[in-house]
Amino acid sequence: MNGVRSGRWQVTASQHRPIRRDQAVQVECARELLGVAFSEAPNKYYFVLRPDHMVVEADSTIQSIMENLQVYRNHLTVVFEGFQYQLGDFHVKAGRAVIAHSENLRGIVLEVEYLPVSSLGKTHQLMQEFVDIWQEVAAQSMTGRIVHLEPNFGDYSLSDQYSWQHTALQYISLMVHFLSQRTN
């Protein structure tokens, strides 16, 4: 497709669980805290609380704060990594998803970004057409199918203008999807 490779990328998504001093006593808190870090945005960190439909953006120092608070413990980390490509107005990241420290491959990831426009509403059809082209290519040359995963951004009060918070939610959704595949 005449894409130009433009470097590596990495996204780290983590699942944290609450720490209870007395295991016999319940705690009123989120049972799962999900976090995301992007190699392209090293000064930022994102949290997602799915039951609360919340995306939180903070500086990367929030990780040190959370470590000092010692209220949540890392349970599992999924690393997404690979190469990125420029295809005209599209920026494509292709890579794999592995459980950290195990090299256990959970899946292949494709991220597509349309650079000229940030509006989700205005680009929805165009993005769908781009994905359809990839489906045709994939059907001819690969086993397996591309599954288009897109969370409902509106449920999380995210605006029509695409942002890193949208991307954070997408990678959390990917992690949840891959982990659910694992337990099937």
């Binding site: 609450p18 720490i19 209870r20 001093r21 007395d22 006593v25 319940q26 705690v27 009123e28 808190c29 989120a30 805290l33 949290f47 609380l49 609360d52 919340m54 995306v55 939180v56 953006e57 903070a58 500086d59 990367s60 120092t61 929030i62 040190s64 704060i65 000092n68 608070l69 010692q70 209220v71 949540y72 918070q165």
Partner: protein, 217 residues
Amino acid sequence: MECVVQGIIETQHVEALQVLLQGLCGGRQEKLKIHEICLKSGTNLGVEASEVHLLCSLSQTDPVWTVRHVGGPMRGAGAEQLPAHVRSVLESSISSNALRFFYALGYKMDYELVRIGYVFQFQRVVPITVTATMLCKVPKLHAIDEAIPVTPGIQLVELTAPASTENYSEAVGAISSFAEHLAPLIHLSKPGVPTGVVPTASTAAASLVSRGAMKVS
């Protein structure tokens, strides 16, 4: 990490303090209005009970949220000899849903207050920040516009400087040295060490304010 000393000053002398600070460092003075929420971890949550502060700066057009975690002061015989507290401090900017986020994590509000006053920032060996603020209690939940001073007529002055394990002695020396310049108006010491107001502050303040007025005219 940061070094910190603090003291109290009568509100009527804050103008003189501003004149003195302008004269000493010519630094920028900015208004300060911060809504501070102290959160404590819920029952049984975490390795031990913990506390975190959410700060919402209301000085700008759009509120800016910060989460701040303050560790205990440095301990040991050496630390006790220091004229300032040296403590670990971590801060992070955070999106405006921070309060809802920490509630969801199991934290509960312990108290909230509003700090209103001024902040000076300048460089003296290390970056030094001076704040003079009135602490106001919030009578109803988040009713910050109805905040009333806890101690009318008295403001809290704090000097802080960032520090590291390598340079904290230098930072302590810098703020201690600067604190001496403010001695005519205010006694500054480690947090928790009572100081009281300076008995001769009125005389010093009158002199500073008149000198400041002469410079303007």
